[in-house]
Amino acid sequence: MSNKLQAFQKNAASLMRNKAADKLLFYNDESIKHGLVLTKEQAIRLLEAKDEELRYHGRLEFGEGIIGKLITAFCDSPYMNKQNYSETLERLLEIFYYYKNETDEKLSDNELIDYMKTFFNGSCEGSLELLESRELDSLARALRRK
């Protein structure tokens, strides 16, 4: 990333994260119906993890961001529970950004999340390992061959 943009982001990071954490807590209104709630600390931790993933994968996020979409998509999954909720979201984030790059931008966010959800709730039976190393890997290979 250009030094200019990096410097700007560094300076504004904590301000941005706080605002974003407050926005993320609005998703509790939906997830609480399935017994899942994020605390402000967990929201901040998730945002930090997201920033790390974005940095690692060389991407910049804008708009509402992906965490909200992941919450909306996965909060009704039978394999989500309040003990693993925050950690699972963190892993899903990692997997999402990894495959966003691996699929050469051929899938929109919503398409990739739909695949992830279908595999996670279906053939993977809630296993993040299988989702990452088997299903999405095959999908990415197939897309790259196209």
């Binding site: 990333m1 250009s2 200019k4 943009l5 700007f8 982001q9 300076n11 504004a12 301000l15 941005m16 974005l54 060389g58 991407r59 910049l60 996020e61 804008f62 708009g63 509402e64 961001g65 992906i66 979409k69 950004y97 966003k100 790059n101 931008e105 929109s108 966010d109």
Partner: protein, 307 residues
């Protein structure tokens, strides 16, 4: 009465014409006109603007883009804001505007100016095409007939407003180092049109003779003709023609060989009736320098086309 102008703490030297908005922010911090908290607030609001621009450009399918793409859009956004801020009377006023105005508003204003500049370039490109000089210089030919139009066709002010120059290989006499994007192209096109107009002052056969006898087919054609015209004037001849004989060059050396660059510049400006501040006036010192040096070296006739 002379207008009294308030002295600006931020001087023009602190500002970068290619990256005006960033240099303004840096200058604000350096001079203490901008507190660190304000600096962070402005940076944050610029990032918010970047997010909304990325969303508008790519948000239909994705909520994130590769860094390189984001960095380019950010550069473009800062450039666009800078284009508007440059219209402020000085650096202090520009910083005040940046501090007190929503970035989105600055961006829209900058975009409007860019659109006007693009329109200017379109008009200039047409005039350049119509006034182009027939010659064998391939770079000149493509610059006047193709490259400016390529720029107009491919320029993307909403995502890559800062990009410039990669289309054009022909160099004008005055290099433009302090502008980017369409500002650069507009300056370039204006220079090229001035050069064409000067070249068109002479009969086609005369210019053809000068341009085609020289080996360099990539040199700036205006400079070749301008130099030749200066040679004529120094030899005491009028500009009804561009031809020079060996005797003419000897006369020129006898009359002016002892003069400094500055003296030669002043003499030529007077003889050619070049208005101060004009394009020719800006080009003249370099030409006078080359001619003065050639006269002192005894190679005056080698830098001109002599029959």
């Amino acid at each position: 009465m002379k207008a009294v102008q308030k002295r600006s703490v931020i001087t023009p030297e602190m500002l970068d014409g290619k990256a005006f908005a960033e240099s303004l922010l840096n200058a604000g911090l350096e001079t203490g006109l901008l507190a660190e908290t304000e600096h962070a607030r402005i940076q944050y609001s610029l990032l918010e603007l970047l997010a909304s621009r990325l969303e508008a450009l790519y948000g239909k399918h994705t909520s994130s883009v590769p860094d390189e793409l984001a960095a380019e859009v950010f550069e473009s956004l800062l450039y666009t804001i800078g284009v508007f801020l440059k219209s402020a009377e000085n650096g202090d006023t520009a910083l005040k505007i940046l501090k007190e105005t929503e970035p989105w508003f600055l961006y829209q204003k900058g975009l409007r100016i860019i659109q006007i500049l693009v329109r200017d370039v379109r008009v200039l490109a047409g005039e350049i095409f119509a006034s182009r000089i027939p010659c064998k210089n391939g770079f000149y030919h493509t610059a006047t007939t193709k490259e400016l139009y390529d720029f107009l066709r491919t320029y993307r002010p909403r995502s890559h407003a800062h990009e410039y120059g990669k289309f054009i290989y022909y160099a004008t006499a005055l290099p433009c180092r302090d502008l980017a994007g369409v500002e650069y192209i507009r300056r370039y096109a204006t220079s090229l049109l001035w050069e064409n107009r000067f070249c068109a002052l002479f009969p086609g056969k005369e210019t053809e003779k000068v341009l085609n006898t020289l080996p360099g087919r990539t040199e700036n054609i205006f400079l070749l003709l301008f130099k030749q015209a200066c040679g004529r004037v120094l030899a005491g001849k009028d500009l009804s023609s561009l031809s020079l004989t060996a005797e003419d060059t000897e006369v020129a050396c006898l009359l002016h060989g002892h003069k400094t660059e500055a003296e030669l510049t002043a003499d030529l400006a007077l003889a050619l009736q070049i208005p101060m501040g004009s394009y020719l006036a800006e080009c003249l010192p370099a030409v006078a320098k080359e001619l003065a040096a050639a006269m002192k070296r005894g190679s005056f006739r080698n830098v001109l086309t002599v029959e």
